[in-house]
Amino acid sequence: MKIRHVLVSILGMSLLIGGCAQPPADQINAAEQAVKDAQQSGAATYVANDYAKVEGLLAAMKTEVAEQDGKFALLRDYGKAEQLAATAKAEAERVKADAAKKMEEAKFAATQAQQAAQTSVASTLALVAKAPAGKDRAALESIKADADALKASLNDVQMMLDKADYLGAQTKAKAIQDKADAVSHEIETALAKIGKGKTIAKKK
């Protein structure tokens, strides 16, 4: 009788201990939130490979949890899932930091390119103002039209920056700078040929 009681007690204790094995909900939630934060910080764009691996860790964690969930309650062990959740969280945080750093670098490069383009366009516009009419008024008007178009294009760069399209903004700004420099060179060549320019008199 005593032996039976002892066995029942041991079984009860085992069930109690086994029944306590629950998925690590807090760690899972924390890992999922960390991956979500990484995604929102632009990780999928700036560190796409690393982000894909973090998602892989999250998926592996979920698979492990599902596998344990499918087992008999007494045999469940969420230790590995917990470890995966911790790794996923840590990796997501690292990836988020890397993405932020890369995004900042891209933004800085785009802003630098924008400033260089603005300087070049301003210089071109200043040269246009003293450009000689020369024999070819059409050429002067063309240069003016080009300079005005370049000035207008600077707005596109700002719009790209506002939309966080830093790569697009950088290439566009560089293109504007190159074109503005080419136009300036054209005017400088004309000025060098004839000397000082003269303002254009209006006529109907």
């Binding site: 796409a48 490979n49 982000y51 894909a52 691996k53 998602e55 892989g56 860790l57 998926a59 592996a60 698979t63 590995k80 995966l84 790794t87 000689p132 009419a133 020369g134 024999k135 070819d136 008024r137 059409a138 002067l140 008007e141 063309s142 039209a145 080009d146 005005d148 178009a149 370049l150 207008a152 294009s153 790569l167 697009g168 290439t171 566009k172 560089k174 293109a175 504007i176 190159d178 074109k179 004839i194 320019g197 003269k198 254009i200 008199a201 209006k202 006529k203 109907k204």
Partner: protein
């Protein structure tokens, strides 16, 4: 006591030790390290190929599997297996290696195809841009296109930059946009200058010129014909051609004049309304035309009514045939300009009331019509 006991015991120990060594030698690691290295190498290749960007779902599958398997590899790093034990981890890694290699091969081929396509499209669009720029320059029609040439040029520069960065998809997008901008440029030129390629319109201009020459013949007097496409001014006397000079037009002269300040040179039948000699003009000598005539006014009012001309715009005037003031002021805003020596000759031979007919072109295959024909895409591009 067993006879020869020490020898037997020693032999048994030796056999046991040999068996243990043999067993240990037959044991294997769970995963060969070179397999892990091969997959890591594939992952680096995929990184180089920007797999996560160009084939996100495919790379996601690879990355998920790799992460899962690597976790298992790390967990089983110290495990020693018997060679006959089933090893599903090694098999899974082998499958991943095969799939990864296939993805690398496919993406490498895809990248080569994209690079080729981007290079070809970029070269074609750049080539077409040069052709259009040359034609536009040949007929002084750059201003008709407003900001479009610069926008196209910027897109082409961006496409070139993306190509050099290995972003072939972005390069293709930018050059495709540039191509559409070029098509828009062609459309604008066809719309604005298409009349130069219209046989009916050219026939009208030829008729106007014939009638002017006929008038000169009938009245035994002078008459002037200006052809904008040919950039020539021809003086007739009693129906006979007396002289022909090259001219420059307004800065937007190839267009049909619509309002003040548009830089266009008007087309129509005019007369010399006044002669301005030394001291009366800043352009050496000038023959003032009676622009706007009745037809010009009618067209202007009609266009304004339709909203094609802004309300603040005036019809303009003071259209002249004039000389050059000096090198720096050699300009015109819609007039017809000659070199001073030629202007001097013309000035002496023309009186007030002399008919001046300004036409777009006198021949069907004029310079503008030829330029427009060259703007059409080649047959192999269609």
């Amino acid at each position: 006591m067993i006879p020869g006991f020490p020898y037997v015991t020693a032999s048994r120990w030796c056999i046991g030790a040999l068996a243990l060594c043999g067993s240990l030698a037959a044991c294997v690691q769970t995963v060969p390290p070179e397999m892990v290295e091969a997959i890591e190498s594939l992952d680096r290749d995929l990184l180089q190929l920007r797999a996560a960007e160009v084939a996100p779902s495919e790379y996601a599958v690879f990355a998920h599997q790799w992460v899962t398997l690597r976790t298992r590899v790390e967990a089983e790093e110290d495990t020693i297996r018997w060679p006959w034990e089933p090893n599903d981890l090694e098999q899974a890694l082998r499958d991943l290696q095969t799939e990864g290699a296939k993805t690398v091969a496919r993406l490498t081929e895809q990248q080569a195809t994209e690079r080729h396509a981007a290079a070809r499209q970029l070269a074609e669009v750049e080539d077409r841009s040069r052709i259009i720029a040359t034609q536009v320059s040949a007929i002084d029609s750059r201003l008709i296109l407003a900001e479009k040439p610069v926008e196209t040029d910027l897109l082409l520069k961006q496409a070139r930059a993306f190509y050099e960065q290995g972003r072939y998809d972005q390069s293709l997008l930018a050059s495709d946009r540039a191509s559409r901008y070029l098509a828009a440029q062609s459309a604008v030129l066809q719309r604005e200058l298409g009349r130069y390629a219209s046989p009916d319109r050219v026939a009208q201009w030829q008729k106007m010129a014939r009638e002017t020459i006929e008038w000169s013949k009938t009245h035994r007097t002078s008459a002037i014909i200006v052809s904008k496409a040919e950039r020539t001014l021809t003086l007739y006397r009693s129906g006979q051609k007396v002289l022909s000079y090259p001219v420059r037009l307004g800065f937007n002269g190839i267009k049909e004049k619509r309002y003040q300040g548009d830089g266009a040179t008007p087309e129509g039948r005019y007369r010399v309304a006044g002669k301005r000699g030394r001291g009366q003009t800043q352009y050496y000598r000038a023959l003032l035309l009676d622009y706007p005539n009745q037809e010009d006014r009618r067209r202007f009012l009609n266009d304004r009514k339709k909203g094609n001309i802004p309300a603040f715009r005036d019809i303009g005037g003071q259209i002249e045939i004039h000389g050059v003031d000096n090198e720096l002021m050699a300009q015109t805003l819609g007039c017809v300009m000659l070199e001073n020596p030629q202007m001097a000759v013309l000035f002496e031979r023309v009186d007030n009331g002399t008919p001046v007919t300004i036409v777009g072109a006198l021949v069907e295959h004029n310079s503008v019509a030829r330029a427009l024909a060259n703007l059409s895409p080649r047959r192999d591009e269609v």
